[in-house]
Subunit: 245 residues, 2 copies
């Protein structure tokens, strides 16, 4: 049985301001939980789960506090449409200071708004071995429950930073900056890179003129048919696939 105040506390973590004050976030469901419990970088503080999940997973929870709850309680605290056996509170990752782009591939996201897109992009980054993402401060919060869910665990392996992009990009002189635009060099003809910054823009507005000005190479995914654009995460996937493999 969960106390009312605990229910209220967990519900409040759906909001960014409360997540920030507490420096925690929520993750849900057996698959994601297993991924996070196995990942050293993920610091699981508290687990709330149905009896059946606890019975099956006691061997992987280690010293983490586990509270058995009812389906009715899970429904109250879950941020999923269909609550799924287990919910955990984790400490936010301590990524330290802003990263350097030297010697690495860095993804830069400008004003990305859709939580599913950000989560999917973190998963893509993790697939292609991109270890850091730098987001504009107006990009959706990485600890938004929908972002966390759609990373499928990759949130524990990719460092996500927020900052003013023009300043950060200007401080990374020497590393080539690639932007995805509708009129640029065919991405299938660009050479593979082992160092570089790749900018993905807002879902409907694309990349701002200010960032476009800071780009060294403008690249385009060749269009054969008539769709006006590609989904931001799909574009990120295609571009990284051509630049990195």
């Amino acid at each position: 049985m969960l106390s009312k105040s605990r229910v209220k506390y967990i519900q409040s973590l759906g909001q960014k301001k409360f997540r920030e004050t507490e420096a925690v976030f929520i993750a849900e469901g057996p698959k994601l939980m297993k991924e996070l419990l196995e990942e050293k970088s993920a610091d699981v503080k508290e687990i709330y789960a149905l009896k059946e999940w606890i019975d099956d997973n006691l061997h992987i929870v280690g010293n983490t506090s586990v509270t058995e709850i009812s389906e009715a309680d899970l429904e109250k605290i879950s941020h999923l449409t269909t609550p799924n056996k287990v919910l955990a509170i984790l400490n936010q990752f301590d990524n330290g200071k802003l990263p350097s782009a030297k010697g690495k591939v860095t993804l830069v996201l400008e004003n990305l708004q859709d939580p599913g897109n950000l989560g999917t992009i973190i998963r893509i980054a993790d697939w292609f071995g991109v270890v850091q993402i730098v987001c504009s401060t107006d990009t959706v919060d990485v600890y938004n429950p929908k972002v966390v869910q759609s990373t499928m665990g990759s949130i524990a392996r990719v460092k996500v930073f927020y900052t003013g992009l023009p300043e950060w990009l200007t401080s990374q002189k020497g590393t080539s900056v690639f932007t995805a635009t509708l009129k640029g060099k065919d991405v299938t003809t660009v050479s593979k890179i082992s160092e570089g910054i790749v900018i993905i823009g807002n879902e409907s507005k694309g990349i701002s003129a200010e960032l476009l000005n800071l780009a060294d190479v403008k690249i385009t995914i060749p269009q054969i048919g008539k769709a006006e654009s590609l989904n931001a995460a799909v574009a990120a996937g295609i571009i990284l696939s051509h630049l990195l493999t």
Copy 2:
């Protein structure tokens, strides 16, 4: 003012069985509406819109019946989290009989469940000039409002069929069948194609053993990092980008 029975009718179109009986579907929002009104293949039957949308768009609606409604009415009939000025009822597309794979690139979807994924894949197909998609009968309905919204208008340019996949694939002998799997030929090394069938599997289970057996070429997106898999739509985008451009 909308009658109660009209509100009920439009709400019912959120369910597949009512859409099928009526052979119609719903689309919403100014951007999608503009795309669909401009597309000859889309047959817009009725439009329900706020005064401001009607004032701005009267020149593009042609002979379509337009009903001015209040924000309160729109909220009742909308399937969006944030209703957006206009909702239309369209006739379902008449795609005729099952297509031949000869001379074309055909996308095949097995048991895709997420509406956003299907919509995004239709948009990707449209970007890369793929004009037909054949889905297993247990794939999410193309006229699901969330699918329609995420196609961004591409639903009017890509033909989507539903059928038993083993039978259809067996009837297409002579056309190479490519499947995305976790262990196959590196997609970046596969030659460009102008004819072929590309299978994308279920979000969590991948491709069934039965379909895998019918594949001529198994392809894989090289993995550098640690993510267990890629989102189905992202995988489709990357594969089509390498096979077609």
